[in-house]
Symmetry: C2
Subunit: 430 residues, 2 copies
């Protein structure tokens, strides 16, 4: 049973605040372990990778090889179900088309004083893509992380994925190949992050590391941040469904469960203005849970973190939606577009009754790597922008320098930076 | 004396690598102290801010007030030199015009299948701006951090600045006012970062924190990352000047010194194809240093981190320039535009002999908050994009859902996510 919060109840604000503040994930202190692993990889390179992989993944890279070979990828295609490979291709093409529109444009112009200014975007040279092992080894996530990098024009897209017991999900290799990944290594954990950041004999270092991972991976990324760039630290997934009483409760329940099945720490929230509908959805959730192979996970998530929030009007829901700042927001209400126009914080919005969030996970075309745990208040989903960087350009002639010099020199002086002023003045014989 | 590296020397690669790897700043382990400070501010709010400010800044906020009042700002205008205020206004207007061009555009379109996709940009609601105290309390940096936030449409721009001995540089207050800062608090250090991230009785929390600071501030930002967004951790400043023998050695020396005077950890590098010119610049540096009020700082920076790199041709310099990935790159060579077209990694490029980097520090219009310590390989200078976030939008009708369903269901199944498949199938009576 999820909790129910009624906006008009006295004490709602306090309960809602507590709900927002709920920590859904333990953060084990793995800092010391991670530091040792990173130091070892920096000191001993490939040898450390082989040792840690033997220990943590029970795989012998001294015989398997650190790098995945072309023949391994061919083999993966043979092992994969052809219909699934076709679905991956379909998803790949849709994701690519959408991301093509995200490429930023260069800008170069001359202002009224004749000063030339500009911004130029270039791709990051090499990017590392972390792919978790085991059940969280999702081929769709490989597409979502690699395609924006490819569209951006990244030269080297370097994937790491732990081979638990020597095995990598063949669909992960196929997805990597379809998405233009250029190198794949059979490593995971903090040791893989260290190898990407600092390089080893086999692996040339990259400039940025993206992709989800466990607590060790997250701590390692935090640790190497600065030496390389990193993406957001991903938390457990969440969906917020805003739905009126005209929906089929079974559809909405299915959407809530699609999120809940991910992880016991996932979160599904329903906001509705119709108490009877809310109850009907809860009943449908209980019925449907029993049909799921991952019933236990979904039930735990719904029980511990699920919520039904009752509002008088959807207008009154807007500040709540913005405070929740959900990774995924479904709007299954009549005037969804107008509601969309009024909200500010959400990773991705799924508009209307025929847009289940799951479409965005796979084949919508938009990216499924989205800000979790309320970070949509300040950050965005993964995009081409994460794989490019901007260089600003300034160009003056003697006249422009003369025009700008007095203010520059005045400010340099005010800041006590004499040499700053001189570097301008010396060009004007001032 | 800076070091000299000659690209054609045997052993150059090794020496260049060592040069690139030189750590210019100690990273003291302040983690434990910072953690305590953050915990204290979370637990005791304003009272902790008052205690820490008494201890670290020798200022009594219980009488001064945590918040800077409007009358304090009026007073600052009266104390400030009118010509400097005019220069700040001039800089403000130029910075604002340039940043107006950086506003990202929303995108909404319908693809061939009738699927509606989109990206919508919205401003972050509240942003914290850290301004260091003491000699590093630069009014120009206030403009550079606050104006992009204002242009982005951030509602609350919250500035914190330590008041050492109770005093804040009046020009910092004036710059904040000119740049549209909405709240100012007399606090600094890790306690200010904690207050911005978690809020206190007086200070409402923000969603993102930007601005440079010392090791404590950097560690605190790293610590609260996730709860709020942060900008890059700023390192010491650097300039790379690429110059041929046609330059006046005194001009180039002045540019190298403008960087060196910032900080003993600052770095100035000259790449030239003309050995005699390189020598002349070194001589000019030695001559000019003596004229500077900050001679000692500049001399230490030039001695410890300065470098002259001799190349045979400027084409041969391109890979070196990309590997250095300088925060500031000056191109004082004949065909600077063509060189610019060939390089990839630089925070900002100053093109031609009449564009000293200092213009970009103050009045060029572009931002002076730029990626340091080789991070231009993967990140960009501060811009309007740092104060907005993107929500992706997806909208399907029944026909579109039908068209996308088979691939989505196939992928959900392949990933073992049954409830994902169900949330699509249930809408199609599949």
């Amino acid at each position: 049973m999820a909790i129910t919060l009624r906006q008009t109840d006295p004490g709602f604000e306090e309960r809602f605040k507590a709900f927002l503040g709920t920590k859904r994930e333990a953060s084990p202190d793995v800092e010391a372990t991670v530091r040792t692993i990173i130091d070892e990889v920096r000191a001993r390179g490939d040898a450390a990778l082989i040792d840690y992989t033997q220990k943590f993944d029970r795989a012998d890279l001294s015989t398997l090889g650190i790098a995945v070979a072309r023949s391994d990828i061919e083999q993966a295609y043979k092992q994969a179900d052809p219909a699934t490979v076709e679905a991956l291709r379909f998803a790949r093409d849709r994701i690519r088309s959408h991301h093509e529109r995200q490429k930023p444009r260069d800008d170069r112009y001359t202002d009224a004083l004749g000063v030339e200014l500009g911004s130029r975007w270039t791709a990051i040279e090499a990017v590392g893509l972390y792919v978790p092992g085991g059940t969280a080894s999702y081929p769709s996530s490989v597409l979502m992380n690699a395609i924006p990098a490819q569209v951006a024009g990244v030269d080297r897209i370097v994937m790491v994925v732990p081979a638990s017991g020597g095995v990598i999900n063949p669909l992960v290799l196929v997805a990597a190949d379809l998405a233009g990944v250029s190198e794949i290594y059979r490593i995971g954990g903090a040791q893989a992050v260290a190898a990407l950041a600092y390089g080893t004999e086999t692996i040339a270092p990259v400039a940025k590391i993206v992709g989800p991972g466990n607590a060790y991976v997250a701590a390692a990324k935090r640790h190497v941040f600065g030496t390389v760039g990193i993406d957001m630290i991903a938390g457990p997934s969440e969906v917020l469904v805003v739905a009126d009483g005209s929906n089929d409760p079974d559809w909405i329940a299915a959407d809530l469960l699609a999120q809940a099945e991910h992880d016991v720490s996932a979160q599904s929230i329903l906001i509705t203005d119709d108490e009877a509908f809310g109850k009907a959805v809860e009943d449908a959730v209980e019925r449907q849970i029993k049909l799921l192979p991952r019933a236990e996970t979904a039930a735990a998530s719904w029980r511990d973190f699920g919520a039904v929030i009752l509002v008088e009007t959807f207008d009154a829901a807007i500040p709540l939606v913005d405070r929740i700042a959900a990774e995924h927001l479904e709007l299954a209400i009549d005037d969804a577009e107008s509601f969309l126009g009024k909200i500010r914080n959400a990773g991705a919005v799924f508009v209307g009754r025929h847009t289940p969030e799951v479409i965005g996970d796979y084949v919508g075309g938009s990216n499924h790597v989205l800000p979790t745990a309320r970070s949509a208040r300040f950050s965005s989903g993964l995009s081409v922008l994460d794989f490019v960087k901007r260089t600003s350009i300034l160009r003056l002639g003697p006249d422009q320098l003369k025009a700008l010099a007095p203010a520059a020199i005045a400010l340099a002086k005010a800041e006590g930076l004499e040499a700053h002023g001189r570097s301008v003045a010396i060009r004007l014989n001032m």
